[in-house]
Symmetry: C3
C-alpha cells in the first residue's frame, strides 16, 4: 500500500505547500492589482513586498524541507514534524507581518530560523548515531 512511514512529517510538508500556494496567489493578485507587467518584478512597493515574502519563503524552504526530512529519517518522525510545525508558525507570522510592514518581519523569521537550525542539529545527531551503529568499530 504505502511505503511512507513519516506521516507526521508528510502532513507538515503538505501544510507548508499550502502556505506556499497561498503566497503564490498573493503575488499573482498583487501583480494584477498594482499593474506590474511580466517580466518586471519591481515598480510598486506593495507588489515587491508580496514578491519578496513568496521568494524568501522558497529560499528558506530550500533549507527547511531537506533538514526536516533528514531529521525524520535519521532521528524521529514526531520530532521532525514538531520542529516543522514551529517553522510553519514562524513563517506564517513572517508572511502576515511583512505584508503589513517589512520592518516587522523579524520575529517570525527568527522563530523559523531557530526551528530550522534545530532540525539540522537533530538530523546531524541522528546521522552520527547511525554512523556509530554502522561503523566497523561497532
Amino acid at each position: 500500500m504505502s511505503n511512507i512511514t513519516y506521516i507526521y512529517t508528510a502532513a507538515v510538508t503538505l501544510m507548508t505547500l499550502l502556505l506556499l500556494q497561498v503566497l503564490t496567489i498573493v503575488v499573482a493578485q498583487a501583480r494584477v492589482r498594482h499593474g506590474i507587467k511580466a517580466p518586471a518584478v519591481t515598480g510598486s512597493e506593495p507588489f515587491e513586498r508580496a514578491f519578496r515574502v513568496h521568494m524568501n519563503t522558497i529560499e528558506q524552504m530550500a533549507f527547511f524541507l531537506p533538514a526536516m526530512w533528514l531529521c525524520a529519517g535519521l532521528l524521529s518522525d514526531a520530532a521532525a514534524a514538531a520542529g516543522g510545525l514551529i517553522w510553519l508558525i514562524g513563517r506564517s507570522l513572517y508572511a502576515v507581518s511583512y505584508l503589513n510592514d517589512p520592518a516587522k518581519r523579524g520575529p517570525g523569521a527568527y522563530i523559523a530560523f531557530l526551528a530550522q537550525i534545530a532540525l539540522w542539529l537533530g538530523a546531524a545527531a541522528g546521522l552520527v548515531r547511525v554512523a556509530i551503529k554502522l561503523g566497523p568499530w561497532s
Copy 2:
C-alpha cells in the same frame, strides 16, 4: 541493488531537471547576448524574460516536487507520474510561450497549476487513508 520503487516518478523528476537545465542555459546565453553583467538581473527585457521563466520554474518546482513525491509515496507512483507529466507539459508550454511573449504565459501556467493542485490533493487523500489505517481506531 536499488531501494527506489517509484520509477515512474523518478523518470518524471529527471525530465523536470532536464527542463530546468535547459532554462538555466537559456538564461546564461541571454546574459551574454544582451550584455547583462553579474550581479545585475535587469536592464534588458529579453534577458528579464529568460530570467523570470527560469526563476518561476524553480518557484513552482518548490511546490511540485514535494507534492508529486508525497503523492507517489502515499497514493500511487503511476498517478503521481501522470500528474507530473501534465505539469511538465504545462511548464514547457509556459516557457516557450513566455520567451516569445510574456502576455501569453497564462495557459501553460494554468495547466501546471491544476496538475500540482491535483498532486497535492492526491497526497492528502493518501495521507488520510494511511492515517485511518494506522490509527488506534483501526
Copy 3:
C-alpha cells in the same frame, strides 16, 4: 531505528545546507551594512553580489539535490555523495570568488555544473538498469 540507508548522501546534504545557511547570513549582514531596506534587493552592488550568490546557489540546488538523491537511490550512495562533494567544492569556490569579483565566478560554477550533470547521468543510468530488471522482458 533509522530507515535511511544513504548516510553518505545525507552527510553531503547536511554540508550543503550549512553552505546555504552561511550564504543566508552573508546576505542578511550585507543588507544591514549597505542599508538596503526590505523589500528592495537592489541599490548597492556589494549587496547585490551577496544576494545573487545566495539565490544562484538555491537555483542550482533545485537541480542538484534531486539529482544527487535519485543517483543515491537508483545507483549508489557512495557515487552520489562523491559527486555531491565535488559540487559542494565547486559551489564554495563560486561563492568566495563571486563575492570578491563577479567576473571570477566561472570556474567554481563550471565544476559544480559538471558534477550535477554527472549525478543526473548516474541517476538516469540507474533508472534504465532498474527498468530493465523490472520490465516484462526480464
